[in-house]
Amino acid sequence: MTNLSVAATRRWKLAGRYGLASLLLVFFVFPIYWLFIISLKTPDEIFHFPPIWYPKSLQFANYAVLFKDGDAVSVLNSLILAGVSTVIAMIFGTMCAYSLVRFKTGGEDFAVWVISQRLMPPIAIIFPIFLLYVYLGWVDSYGGLIVLYTAFNLPYVIWMMRGYIEDIPLELEESALVDGCSRWAVLWKVVFPMARTGLFATAVFTFVFAWNEFIFALVLTRTEVVTYTVQVTHYFGGQSNFWAKIAAMSALGTVPVFITVSLLQRFLVRGISMGAVKG
C-alpha cells in the first residue's frame, strides 16, 4: 500500500469511529436530554402530539411549583440524610479499614463478611429493620434512616479505604510512633491526612449512593423525611398528569450528582469498581 492510501484508510477509520461514537452518544444522552427538556416545557408542549423535540422558549415554572408547594424540601431531606450518614460512615469505616490493614484484625473471614454485606439484597434486610423501627418509633425519622444508610454504606467505605490506606507508607506511621505519638494520634494526625484524597473520593461516592437510594426510603419514610427519589414516585398515577413534576423533581435530584461526578472523573473508575481498578 502506498502512503497515501494508508492515510486515507486511517481517515476513514477515524470517521467511522466518530460515527459510531456519535450514535452511542445519542442513545446514552438523549434520554437525559428528554428528562431535562420536559422539565422546562409548558404543559401544552409536554402533552403535544407529535412530541416537541425542543421547546421554543425555556421556562422554569415547573420548578417554581415544586418550591411553592414545598415538595422541593425532599431534596433537602436527601441532602441531610446522605450528608450526615456519609460523614459518620467515613469516620467509622476508615477506622475499621485501618485496623484491617495494619493489624489484620479478624483476618480474611472478617473482610469477606464485611464485603458480603454490601452485596446483600436490601429487600431481605428491610423487613426485619422495618419491624424493629416500628418498635423503636424510628420510622419516618432522620435518625432512623441515617443509622441505616450509615450501616449500609460502611462495607463500601471499609473496602475502599482499605485500598487507599494500603498505599500509605508504613515508615511515616512508625516514625510518629517512635516520636511518642499514641496509636490514636497516629490515626488522626498521620493516617487521615495522608489518606485525604481517598477519603474525599470515597465520601463522594458514598454520598451519591445514599442520595440515590430508593427502597429503604420508600419503606421507612411517610411524610417528614421523604427523599427526592420517593417524591418522584409520588407523582406516578393512573392518569399521571404530573409529568412536569416528575421531570423537574428528577432533574433537581440529578443535577447535583452530575456536577459532583464530573468534578471527580479521575476517581470514577476506582469508585464504581469498588477499587478493582486503581489509578
Binding site: 475499621c96 479478624g106 454485606q117 431481605a124 423487613f127 426485619p128 429493620i129 418522584v232 469498581s273
Partner: protein, 306 residues
C-alpha cells in the same frame, strides 16, 4: 490492666491518650463499624428466622410456634418461583448484553481520538443517575402518544404506531431491559476501558507481528489480562441485577398483573402491601441464604479479600 493504669499515673500530662490502652486499639477502632454491621448483617437474619417460625399476618399477631409451615408454603408458592424466574431472566439477558456491549464500546474508545474524554464523560452519565429516576425517565420516553420512542418507530414504519410499552405483555420485558442496559452498559464500559488500557501493549504488538489475528490476541492475551477486573464487574452487576427493584417499580410496578414481578418486588408486596409478616420473613431468609452462598463463594473464588 494494672500496667496500663500504672502508665496512666506515671505518664501524666505527657500521655493523655494512654487512657485508652494501645493494645486494645485495633478492637476499639472496629467496634463502631462492627456494631452497625451487626444491625444490618446479623439482626435481620436472626429476627427473620424467629418470625418465620411464627404465624404473624396482618389480621392476626400470632406468635405461636408454627414449625416449618411457612417454609413448606415457599415450595407451593407459584408466584414466588415465577418472581425468581423473572429475576433470573432479566439477569441472564441483561448481564451478557451489558458485558459485550460495554466491551465493544471500550474497544472503540481505547485508541486516542480528539474529543474522546468528552464523549466518555457524557456516555457514563446514566450510570450515576438514581435507578428510580432512570425508570421514571424511560416511563416518559415510552409513553405511547407523547413519548419520542413510538414517534421514531413511526418514522421507520411510515405510519403512527401505538405501542403500550409498560402494559403490553410482550413489550414490558424489552422496555425493562432497554432501560437496564441503557443505565448500566456505561458502568461496564468504563471499568473495561480502564482494564483494557492497562493491558501490556508490547505483548499484543508482539503477537500482532507474529501474525495472530484480532480474536486470537483477544482470547489469548487481552481476556486473561482483564479477567480479574472483569470478574468483579460481573459480580457487582450480577448481584445488582438479582436485587433489581427501583427500575421496575418506576416502569411497571411488577405489572401487567404479576408479569414483571421480581423477587424484590414480590417480597415488598408480601411484606408491605399484604403484611404477611411471618411468610415474608421466610422469603427474606431464603434470599439471604441463597445470596450468601453465591456471594461468599464468588468473593473467595476471586480472592477479593486478600
Amino acid at each position: 490492666m494494672t500496667s496500663a493504669s500504672h502508665a496512666d499515673n506515671s505518664g501524666g500530662a505527657h500521655h493523655p491518650s494512654r487512657r485508652m490502652p494501645d493494645h486494645n486499639f485495633r478492637y476499639w477502632i472496629i467496634a463502631p463499624s462492627v456494631f452497625l454491621l451487626l444491625l444490618i448483617g446479623l439482626f435481620p437474619l436472626i429476627y427473620s428466622l424467629v418470625v418465620s417460625f411464627q404465624q404473624i399476618t396482618m389480621t392476626d399477631y400470632d406468635t405461636s410456634f408454627a414449625g416449618l409451615t411457612n417454609y413448606a408454603q415457599l415450595f407451593d408458592d407459584a408466584r414466588l418461583w415465577q418472581s425468581i424466574a423473572h429475576t433470573l431472566i432479566i439477569t441472564i439477558i441483561a448481564l451478557p448484553i451489558e458485558l459485550v456491549f460495554g466491551l465493544a464500546m471500550a474497544h472503540l474508545f481505547l485508541e486516542r481520538m480528539p474529543g474522546r474524554q468528552i464523549f466518555i464523560s457524557l456516555i457514563v452519565l446514566p450510570t450515576v443517575i438514581s435507578p428510580v429516576v432512570a425508570g421514571a425517565t424511560w416511563r416518559l420516553l415510552f409513553d405511547q402518544r407523547y413519548g419520542p420512542i413510538n414517534q421514531v418507530i413511526g418514522w421507520f414504519a411510515g405510519h403512527d404506531v401505538i405501542m403500550l410499552w409498560n402494559i403490553t405483555p410482550h413489550l414490558v420485558y424489552p422496555a425493562i431491559l432497554i432501560c437496564e442496559v441503557w443505565q448500566w452498559t456505561p458502568f461496564m464500559f468504563l471499568i473495561l476501558l480502564a482494564a483494557l488500557s492497562n493491558v501490556d501493549k508490547s505483548l499484543t504488538e508482539a503477537a500482532e507481528l507474529d501474525g495472530a489475528g484480532f480474536w486470537r490476541i483477544f482470547f489469548k492475551i487481552v481476556l486473561p489480562a482483564i479477567w480479574p477486573v472483569m470478574a468483579i464487574a460481573i459480580l457487582i452487576r450480577g448481584v445488582d441485577l438479582f436485587r433489581i427493584f427501583d427500575v421496575i417499580w418506576a416502569l411497571t410496578s411488577g405489572g401487567p398483573g404479576t408479569m414483571t414481578e421480581t423477587i424484590s418486588i414480590y417480597t415488598y408486596v408480601q411484606g408491605f402491601q399484604q403484611f404477611e409478616s411471618s411468610y415474608t420473613a421466610a422469603i427474606a431468609f431464603l434470599i439471604v441464604g441463597l445470596m450468601s452462598v453465591v456471594v461468599i463463594w464468588a468473593i473467595r473464588r476471586m480472592g477479593l479479600a486478600k
